[in-house]
Symmetry: C2
Subunit: 125 residues, 2 copies
DNA sequence: AGACGTACTTACCCACAAGTGAGTACCCAA
DNA sequence: TTGGGTACTCACTTGTGGGTAAGTACGTCT
């Protein structure tokens, strides 16, 4: 089956961290979960404009395997699943903060634009 | 021609930073250049066991385009090219430090091993 | 009765990141 | 004269990350 579980050997810590964050949407998922604390599948899908259901699930599963997110299933009539960050997910998110700051600075430098839909969500925090 | 130059639109700062760091060897190149200050092409190749010449050059060129590394050519009999970090490269590397720390911690947790050759190369200087 | 919402799974496809291997032009040491 | 070192370029191939679209099982809304 596809991806995940490289689990080293790594060249260094950054390599190990990147292995876990690599994937088009993982950093965003991390950020969403950190921001909202806990989110349902469909909420995440709506929060990440452009993500496909396949990739969302795949990434969530990998991040669960890597111990970054917690998956809570409620056996209810309309299915309900809640995702949240584990302590490792939280600490990873914290470790990503300086990188995010650098990236924001870079966006300012090169005059890159933001994805519009996200702006609303970001502006509210 | 291949890669590079996505230049947004980005979802957020992390997205923008990842765009620049994405690539199998970029973080390692960053680390090497930061560690040694300035390195020649062949030195980098030897310092990153397993990298192909094609990828090394490709990544170096992209990082140069992104304003992370400086390329100094000496028009000498045996060609000589020196690579070093720009101030943006240095600051990016600094922003990656917490991530590296997190990754190292994760390696300890899951008991991942390091690539051996790198250890020797690092120890030697 | 049909559309829509929940949370997925499965199959198929393609673009591109990355690997392989050879070639270039020049010089030096054995 | 063969081999190795400098720093690349170019053509070809492969692996896979990610996209698209459909199906599933159940329930409510209109």
């Amino acid at each position: 089956m596809a991806t995940s579980a490289r689990r080293g050997p790594y060249f260094c810590g950054i390599d190990a961290a990147m292995d876990v964050v690599a994937g088009k949407w993982k950093a965003l998922i991390l950020w969403e979960l950190h921001h909202y604390g806990t989110r349902r599948f469909a909420e995440l899908r709506r929060g990440l404009p452009g993500v496909s259901e396949k990739m969302l699930i795949q990434h969530l599963r990998e991040m669960e395997e890597d111990g970054l997110v917690h998956r809570e299933v409620y056996r209810e009539v309309p299915p309900k699943v809640e995702y949240s960050l584990t302590e490792h997910g939280v600490s990873l998110n914290a470790a990503l903060a300086p990188l995010g700051k650098w990236g924001t600075e870079r966006m300012r430098r090169i005059g890159a634009e933001k994805v519009s839909v996200d702006v609303a969500a970001t502006a509210r925090r």
